[in-house]
Structures are given as C-alpha cells and as structure tokens.
C-alpha cells in the first residue's frame, strides 16, 4: 500500500522519469502512427520491431557489453535494413507487398531467436538483458535509459510538429503535394525513419512483439473521434499517454500473479490492454458512428417519429 502511494504521488525520482519517458514515447508513437496509418503503412512498424530483435543480439555480439544505447542502435540499424529490404523487393519484383512484410516479420524474428540462443550457449552468456525486450520491462528501467527514450521521443515530436503541414498534405493528397513541388519521396522516407525511431525507443517498455500497438491503437481510436488531423493528433496523443501511464503503473503496483518468484505483470501487455480498453470505449461512444451512439440515435429517432405520428391530427 505504501508502495502504491509512493508510485501514485510520484515521490520516487526514478519512477517519475520512467513514467514520463514512457508517456512521452507513447505520444511520439501516436503522432508518427497517425501519419503512418493515413499513408496506409500501419504495419511497417511491426516489421521494424521484429527486425530489432536480431539487431539487439548482433549489438550484443559486436559490443560485448549490454549498454542500452548500443542495443538500441543495433535495433535501429536492423530496422532500417528490414525497411530497405522490403523496398528493394518491391522495386525488383511484382511480389505482393503484404507477403514480403509477413515474411520479413517472421524471418527476422526467427533470426533473432537463433542469435539469442547462440548468445545463451556462449560461456558466461545469458539473456537476462534480452528477455526484457520481448515483452517490455519499463517498471524496472534505469533513469539513464529513460533519458535516452525521452530524447528520442522529443526529436520525433518536434520533427512531426515542425513539418505537420507537409505531412498532412502528403497523407491526404500525395499527388497534389508532388504537384506543388513538395519533396514527397523524401517526406515518405523521413516518415519511415521516424516510425523506426519510435519503434526502437518503445522496445524497452512495450517489447518487440507488441510495440506496434503503440503505433496503431491510439491513432485508430482517435480516428473514431475526428477526421481532422489536428484533433486526431491530440486525441491519439492523449490516449497513448494515458495508456502508458496507467499500464506502467498497474504492472508496477499489482502483486505478481504467480507468487513472488514469477516475473510479475509484463509491462508491454498491460499498456496495450489499457490502450485496447480505450479503443473499445471509442468504438462504443464515438460521435456520429459509435456503436452505442448509433443505437441511441435510432432510439431517439424512433421516439420522435412515433411522437410526431401521434400528434398529427
């Protein structure tokens, strides 16, 4: 109970920084994810996330130590490699884009598992630093790591806000943007790099498998509320930040399910479940098309119709 109080009142300096960085990252992911979704590239982040596992392992092999920045750098490099690979396959053949993405997701993840088992086999090698990356361990993150995440999130948010007119044009009318001389190819590439950045920075808190949820769920929920880019940004950012704070808090506070010896509640899934609950809420009560809203409106319409029929002479 005292721990709960400590957490909620943010007395703990390290909890404060970790929560702040996770929330800022979720905001950055919500903005980048909104743009990616509007460009119909929602699942590119999934390929980047899965490719980051072999990246982390390779960085472990190359650098030897498990410095956080090195692991993230390895993840980022392999994320870019996977994007380059998918673009190259698209250029070379008429192969189906969805097939290439699916194969990249699972092939790179397979490579990551192969490498992580090799690390485990090495004398003195253990995967203690790697396993946390599968499902996320924000609650136990270190303050210095959180600052790195915070910096990445800040860069991404600043870039998107600075270029929001250009990105908006790119998403809603690419041909027009190209026609008036906007560098659409470079903007597309920049958007992919931003997606890769938030994906990699989200790994420590949400994990390889679920980090794409930060890119997809808040924008999808925000889309239920509004069709304008500005409002969508705001709602998605709010939903992302709320999920990150509530999810991280829950996984830190709830008593471990299998007794003290088990790993406790995995942070990533708790964040994603919170976001999913907010998405379900949005689906139900969103203005105009929400499922409950539509029912309510039909009820009102029927009531007013029967009243007006009843009142006609």
């Amino acid at each position: 109970m005292t721990e709960l109080f400590r957490l909620l009142s943010l007395q703990d300096a390290s909890t404060r920084v970790v929560m702040l960085s996770t929330a800022c990252l979720a905001i950055a992911a919500a903005l980048a994810g909104s743009l990616a979704m509007l460009r119909r590239r929602a699942l590119v982040g999934d390929a980047v996330a899965h490719a980051s596992l072999p990246g982390i392992c390779l960085a472990w092999f190359v650098a030897g130590d498990r410095s956080f920045a090195m692991l993230l750098l390895g993840a980022f490099v392999l994320g870019l490699v996977s994007m380059g690979m998918m673009a190259l396959v698209q250029r070379l053949t008429k192969a189906r884009e969805d097939a290439t993405t699916a194969i990249a997701i699972s092939g790179f993840f397979g490579l990551g598992i192969v490498l992580s088992r090799l690390i485990q086999n090495q004398p003195g090698g253990n995967r203690a630093g790697l396993d946390g990356f599968l499902f996320g361990k924000a609650a136990s993150a270190v303050t210095s790591d959180a600052w790195i995440v915070l910096a990445v999130a800040g860069v991404v948010v600043a870039t998107i806000l600075a270029l929001r007119k250009e990105f908006g044009l790119l998403c809603f009318d690419r041909e027009f943007a190209a026609g008036i001389g906007r560098p659409v190819h470079r903007l597309d590439a920049l958007l992919l790099v931003l997606v890769a950045l938030v994906t990699v920075a989200g790994l420590p808190s949400v994990g390889v498998v679920l980090v794409v949820a930060l890119l997809v769920i808040p924008p999808a929920a925000a889309r239920c509320w509004s069709a304008s880019l500005g409002t969508m940004f705001a709602v998605a950012a709010a939903i992302g930040a709320a999920s990150a704070i509530i999810g991280t808090g829950l996984s830190a506070v709830l008593p471990p399910p299998g007794g003290a010896s088990s790993g406790g509640w995995p942070t990533g899934p708790m964040i994603v479940l919170t976001a999913a609950a907010l998405l379900a809420l949005s689906l139900m009560v969103a203005p105009e098309r929400g499922l409950l809203t539509a029912l309510w409106r039909r009820h009102r319409l029927r009531a007013s119709a029967s009243r007006s029929i009843g009142s006609t002479p």
Binding site: D98, T100, S106, F109, W265, V272, L283
Partner: protein, 304 residues
C-alpha cells in the same frame, strides 16, 4: 520410435527424425493453406490470426488445465470470430484501413493472451516465451500410441490437419480457385464467396493452433506465407505453384532443422530464417532472370 537400424545418417537420432517429420508436416500443412492467403493478398491476416488465437489457447488451458488440442481449437474459433467482428467494427466506425484495423485487433488480443498466461504462471507448462518460439525440440518427448507405434502427439495432430487440408482443398478446388482469382465473376456464377472466405479462415486458424505448440506464434507466419509467396515468384500457374510450395515447405523445414542442429540453436527460428533467405534468394534469381531475358531479346531485335 523408429528402429535405430533404419536411421540413414549416424549423427541423427530417431528423435531427430521424428522432429524433422513433425516440422515437415507443420510446414506443408501451413504452406498449402497459406498459398490461398498469398493469392488473395491476405498474408498479413495469417500474421493477425496467429497472434489473435493466443487468448483462445490460454483460455482453454486455464479452464481445462490441460493442453488438449480440442478445447484449444474451440477457444481459438471463438477468438477468430471476435477478431473478425472487432476488425470490421473498427473499419466501419473509425474508417481506418484494413491493415490498421487488423493491427489494432491482433495486438490487443495478443496482449490479453500474454496477461492470461502470466496468470497461469504457477502452472509452468505454458509460458509466454514458449508461445513465441515454440518447443520443436521437445516434440519427441510427448508421444501417443497410434496403432502400436509411439508417435509424437504433435506429429499425429499435424498429420491429421494436413490430411483434412488436402481433402478440403480437393473437394472445394473449383470454388477456391474461382473466388481467389476473380471474386466478382465467382459471385456471378452463384458461388458463395463469403462462405469460401470464412471456410478458408477457419482452416488457417485450425492449422495455426495445431502448429502453434511446435513452432510458436510468430514463426508459424513464415510457414504460412513463405512457401506460397516463394512459389508464386517462379510460376504463374496454380497447380505448379501448389506443388512447388509443398516442395519448398518440406525442404525449408529439413534444411532449417539440420542447420539448427549443427549450430546448436533454435530449430523453429532457423526454419523461419531459412524461409526468408529462400524468399529473398528467389526474388534475386527471378529478377536476374527477367533482366537477362530482357537483355537478350534486345540484342536479338537490334540488327548488326
């Protein structure tokens, strides 16, 4: 178990052979069903289904306390319907495209599954890590008695799944072909396009559940998509594509297992890696071939 006298290579034990047989069965069963996903541009749906069935599997395990396949199949079927409902509601209410709706749905369900598995952490049989990369290496230790022969349980189930796949495919070949290539034309012929789609989804989900335990949720995607996509690069005709996909699926499983054995690493991971290498190699070879043939036809038409 197989008598050691008929083991062809001395460095392979009979356990290895049973594991290879299981991997080949999983790969071919998934690969055949996956060909239709590739043709219908639904490869990412395979990814979504393989993630989304997790809470169904975990729920069945929590309720029954066993790892019997039948309750898990039932749980996964329920979840499959939830997935379909959630994605369609999302694209209707939120006007988001199919990929995003699918992504939001399957990550939510997968997160739910992982949390349910954490609840079952006391029952150590099932843990979130194994869900990701399967337990191919442990397949030979869990056997059933089949006509007097001790067969790995996973191999028996996968063999049955493959048999059902082939029977269904032969029975509904015409319908599958027509709805995959030209759904509008198929509908005008009076074929039930929606019903065929639903049936295919059910078959993919069932294959995924059966293969799940052996190869895990993410690597099953490679088994579903890679053989069909690779075969599609080499041929434009349906029947050769299906045969080629079968051969590729079997070869990938064998090569992947042997490579993993040599390097002492994860077999399922190696099979997925080899799948991707095969696909990329085919992309390179096919585009090289078309570039060469374009060059030679240019040379032939320019006189002198």
């Amino acid at each position: 178990m197989i008598d050691s006298a008929i083991v062809p290579a001395p460095w392979l034990t009979s356990d290895d052979l049973w594991t290879i047989a299981t991997a080949v069965l999983a790969s071919v069963a998934c690969g055949l069903a996956g060909c239709w996903l590739v043709l219908r541009r639904l490869s990412l749906l395979g990814d979504a289904i393989s993630h989304a069935v997790l809470p169904g599997i975990a729920g069945a395990f929590l309720l029954t306390g066993t790892r019997d396949v039948l309750p898990m199949l039932l749980g996964a079927t329920v979840i499959g319907m939830v997935t379909a409902f959630m994605s369609s509601a999302l694209s209707r209410v939120g006007r988001v495209d199919r990929d995003a709706a699918m992504g939001a749905t399957f990550t939510s369900l997968f997160a739910l599954g992982v949390v349910m598995m954490s609840l079952a952490a006391r029952q150590v049989d099932l843990d979130p890590g194994c869900v990701l990369y399967g337990l191919l290496e442990f397949v030979p230790f869990d056997t059933v008695d089949l006509l007097g022969v001790q067969v790995p349980r996973a191999a028996a189930w996968l063999g049955a799944a493959l048999l059902v796949d082939v029977i269904l495919m032969l029975a509904f070949f015409k319908e599958l072909r027509a709805t995959s290539f030209d759904p509008a034309h198929a509908a005008s012929l009076g074929l039930r396009v929606g019903l065929v789609h639903l049936g295919l989804m059910a078959a993919v989900a069932a294959n995924t559940v059966v293969a799940f335990e052996a190869v895990g949720s993410i690597l099953v995607v490679a088994m579903l998509v890679a053989p069909g996509a690779t075969a599609r690069l080499w041929t434009d005709r349906l029947v050769p594509m299906l045969w080629l996909a079968t051969a590729i699926a079997a070869a990938t499983a064998i090569v992947g297992y042997l490579a993993a054995l040599r390097l002492n690493t994860s077999a399922a991971g190696m099979i997925a890696t080899i799948s991707m290498v095969g696909y990329l190699g085919s992309v390179g070879a096919v585009s090289l071939r078309s570039a060469l043939s374009a060059a030679s036809s240019r040379r032939a038409t320019i006189p002198g």
